[in-house]
């Protein structure tokens, strides 16, 4: 096996690189076909990404995406498709903001309280789907889609001034009230114009490490992966599959609950009608693109955040910024297709090698035994 390692490394890189090239070529074709300058948009995007403030924006956004994608990935690892991350993080952020705004505690405690509330709410919301799946067999795909919309309604109701929200004087917005400064998560200042990197971005990175550690180094993680790989085999091995489904749904929801925290604790300090939406769905893309692997997810989150932010100013230069969306779709497709092609190519190569060796007179068994 050892001797294939270098090849494997090359092949491992060949995939993504091939994919990016193909995606760029296709995007260029689209630009050409619509009669636009095929290179200028890239230049604008890279130039825009060279500004410190855009870089900070990219990193902050990637942190948020990373958490959402981790939440999705926990589910995927169990063969659960949590489409509900979106509803979970919105509801969690809203409740956490409410609680955060209504108490005044010393700094770390205040932040901890907010974060814990967010995790609990997220877990509660996904837990409904988990509960329905384990007790009533309701597909989590359906229930989480429904719960997303129900979360929207619930948030809309709770944020009404007559319930828990407030309408700042002179504003047409509704908010949950501002969290006192003790509940703000300090960020890393990057200079006057650039703004600061949310402190929670580092927490997100920590979550990635934790995710890796739990999945690969703990008994629980093994059980979780086993259940995802084969529910029946896991059950026979002593895993309580139902409990596992519920647990991983709860974890997924708790992590989803964190997805709103970078923004809430680092920037807005309140939940309002214009709190970012749709992050849960982007999280699905990123988790899939990163193949549920913590490092892969991190790279994907950065990539998608880069495309998002660096394309934001395209329209000011007369280019349609939808081109970045097209590019995103093309990248996702070509990356996964190339993974597959590279995998098959690897297999063919291996096959060839074995054939050659055989032709050279080595018996199959020696090949096998040598590998031991």
């Amino acid at each position: 096996m050892k001797k294939f390692d270098k090849d494997r490394l090359i092949l491992g890189f060949a995939g993504p690189v091939l994919a990016l090239v193909v995606a760029l070529v296709l995007t260029t074709v689209v630009l050409l076909a619509s009669g636009q300058n095929p290179f200028e948009p890239y230049r604008i995007m890279f130039e825009s990404a060279s500004y410190a403030d855009v870089q900070v924006l990219i990193i902050n956004q990637a942190g948020t995406y990373y958490l959402a994608a981790l939440a999705v990935a926990v589910g995927f690892r169990m063969n659960l498709f949590n489409i509900g991350v979106d509803g979970q993080y919105r509801l969690a952020a809203m409740m956490a903001a409410l609680v955060g705004a209504s108490v005044d505690l010393p700094g770390p405690l205040h932040i901890a309280l907010i974060v814990i509330v967010a995790m609990l709410v997220g877990a509660f919301w996904s837990g409904i789907a988990g509960f329905l799946k384990t007790t009533r067999g309701v597909s989590e795909v359906v229930s989480t889609i429904m719960l997303n919309s129900i979360a929207t309604a619930l948030v809309a109701w709770m944020i009404l001034p007559k319930n828990f929200g407030e309408q700042p004087p002179g504003s047409n917005n509704l908010t949950t009230g501002e969290i006192p400064e003790s509940g703000w998560f300090p960020g890393l200042p990057m200079g006057d114009m650039a703004g600061e990197i949310y402190g929670f971005t580092f927490v997100a990175a920590g979550c990635g490490v934790l995710y890796w550690f739990v999945l690969n180094r703990t008994r629980f993680g093994f059980d979780l992966r086993a259940t995802g790989a084969s529910e029946t085999a896991a059950q026979a091995s002593g895993v309580d599959a139902k409990k596992m489904i519920l647990t991983s749904m709860l974890i997924s929801g708790a992590v989803a609950g964190l997805a709103g925290m970078p923004t809430l604790l680092g920037d807005t300090h309140t939940y309002s009608l214009d709190f970012p939406t749709g992050i849960g769905f982007t999280g699905i893309t990123i988790a899939l693109l990163g193949r549920n692997n913590p490092l892969g997810i991190a790279l994907s989150a950065l990539l998608i955040a880069f495309l998002d932010k660096s394309s934001a100013s395209l329209d000011q230069y007369g280019y349609e910024k939808e081109i970045a969306t097209i590019m995103q779709g093309l990248i996702v497709i070509s990356v996964v297709v190339s993974y597959e092609l590279v995998r098959r190519y690897g297999i063919r190569r291996q096959q060839q090698k074995v054939g050659e060796e055989l032709a050279a007179g080595h018996a199959l068994t020696t090949e096998k035994e040598a590998a031991l």
Partner: protein
């Protein structure tokens, strides 16, 4: 031989039904077939034997157009052919019953049969009529509108055969058709085969049960490590010789030599009841009044046609189902409602009947499969953390000691042949010094060499005081290995027998419900 090529068929010297010449097929890391030559005469039953992974199924898939050979030629009735897909092979009158059922569970028998052959008799009443016609002609007893998932294995096997006959195949490939059948069913199948042969059909037959092979085949080809190593004439070959040809060693026997049964009870089951509720609300008993005790050093064999509650019994013992009544005692602990993990930790080993569903994670590497089921035990973990390094080292030991044929411990379980997967499972379960072992079909689909190893391991552990519950469809194995035999029928233990005196035929008839009570005079059941 291929020089015979050009396709003029003389009535006088009719060409062989199938000629395979120089077939080579490579898979990643494995050469499944290497320069294989086989000629099969018309109207004969030709058996193919060989170890697990010898390349039998691959060869047949090539003949059936499912896989393309890397090299070599195929001639049917003297005419050279090249099949792009099974459709082409079917058109040439080839039919194949696969080693694993090729049935859509959620389809009716009728749908499964007509699929792909809709042009023959339509998909409605015409087809139903034809199916009944064939079913009656061969006594298959097929119900066209039954859902396949509701059928037992024997019925499924018959559906598979009917699928082939429905298409009017002249050349039948049967890949291990008897692995899941009881003797009576095997006899019925063989009767059918002889009938088919009399009608001029050619049958290619694969089996690990050499006795069967000798009884039904006209000619035998032995394959070893992907290539033909010889042919045998069943009339003057013994199973022993055949086995030697296959593996270069003696035919193993499951015979238990000396009794090691002690009178220390290891597992005691009293009044076990299990019911299931169907989606429509009806409650059925699947296990009723199950009582038995297994002592240290004892192998209790349970005979029975599949689907009579064996699976449920195993699952109740493993804690995968919660019994409605009854007590299960392991040693001195009541484990009736203990979770599976606790049972495994307290010393129950489990060789599942369906290894792909319950035994391995197909897409996980071998060393992770070694952890499966014993994640809380040493050497796999320390406290809450996994000990991957120790697990890997121990996997290497298992691979060595249990002769698992694999290029390494990082390959996925799926890339091992079934027999080797089984050896890994046995090795894993034995590595935790079980007090009580559930062995369900421990050698199903496993070649003779591996069979012997597995039997040896069970015997050895038994000598050291292991209690074993053995469930098997292979009655020779059951009789040979067990100290005590019980027969399960419709969720109850209806009969018991002494393995020393009972014959497979007698046991077989008890399994169909024809006999009950104690099957032989001598009452030496250890209770």
């Amino acid at each position: 031989m291929s020089g015979q090529g050009e396709c003029v068929i003389n009535a006088s010297s009719s060409p062989p039904a199938v000629e395979l010449h120089g077939i080579t097929k490579r898979f990643p890391g494995v050469v499944a077939n290497h320069d294989i030559d086989i000629t099969i005469g018309k109207g004969t039953v030709h058996a193919l034997v060989g170890e697990n992974g010898a390349g039998k199924s691959t060869l047949m898939k090539i003949l059936y157009g499912m896989q393309k050979p890397d090299e070599g030629t195929i001639a049917i009735d003297g005419e050279q052919v090249s099949f792009a897909n099974p459709g082409d092979a079917i058109e040439r009158g080839i039919g194949m019953v696969h080693q694993h059922f090729m049935l859509a569970d959620n389809f009716t028998v009728l749908e499964n049969v007509v699929l792909g052959g809709e042009k023959l008799y339509g998909i409605g009443s015409g087809a139903r009529k034809k199916i009944m016609e064939i079913s009656d002609a061969y006594g298959l007893g097929i119900r066209p509108d039954a859902l396949v998932e509701d059928l037992g294995v024997a019925d499924r096997q018959r559906v598979e055969i009917l699928k082939v006959l429905y298409r009017g195949a002249r050349i039948l490939i049967l890949d291990e058709p008897t692995a899941v059948l009881v003797p009576q069913e095997v006899d019925a199948l063989f009767a059918n085969l002889r009938e088919l042969k009399a009608e001029g059909l050619t049958v290619i037959f694969i089996s690990h049960k050499l006795g069967e092979v000798l009884s039904v085949a006209d000619e035998i080809t032995v394959i070893r490590r992907g290539t033909t190593v010889g042919t045998a004439d069943p009339a003057n070959t013994t199973t022993k010789q055949l086995a030697e040809l296959m593996v270069g060693s003696e035919l193993p026997s499951p015979e238990t030599r000396e009794s090691t049964v002690t009178d220390v009870p290891m597992l005691r089951v009293q009044g076990l009841e299990l019911t299931v509720t169907d989606p429509d609300g009806t409650v059925r008993d699947v296990l009723a009044g199950i009582d038995f005790t297994i002592h240290q050093g004892e192998v209790l064999g349970i005979a029975g046609v599949e689907g009579n509650g064996q699976t449920e019994l195993i699952e109740a013992l493993m804690g995968m189902r919660d019994p409605d009544a009854g007590v299960i005692t392991l040693g001195s602990d009541d484990i009736s409602h203990a979770p599976t993990r606790k049972r495994r930790e307290s010393g129950i080993g489990y060789i599942p009947e369906d290894r792909h569903r319950h035994g391995v994670l197909l897409n996980a590497p071998l060393w992770e499969n070694r952890i499966l089921g014993h994640v809380t035990e040493k050497p796999n973990s320390r406290g809450w953390l996994l000990d991957n390094k120790a697990a890997r080292t121990d996997t290497e030991r298992i691979v060595r000691e249990y002769d698992v044929r694999t290029p390494g411990i990082d390959v996925t379980a799926a890339s091992l042949s079934g027999g080797n997967q089984q050896k890994l499972i046995v090795g894993r379960e034995m590595s935790h010094a079980p007090k009580f072992l559930i062995a369900a079909h421990p050698t199903r689909g496993v070649d003779v060499g591996a069979q012997a190893q597995i039997w040896d391991q069970i015997r050895e552990a038994r000598r050291e005081g292991l209690a074993v519950l053995l469930i098997s469809a292979d009655l020779d194995e059951l009789i040979g290995l067990s100290d005590t035999l019980r027969v399960m029928y419709r969720g109850r233990l209806v009969a018991d027998a002494d393995p020393a005196t009972i014959t497979p035929e007698e046991l077989g008839s008890a399994m169909t419900g024809a006999a009950a009570g104690h099957l032989e005079g001598s009452e030496d059941e250890a209770r």
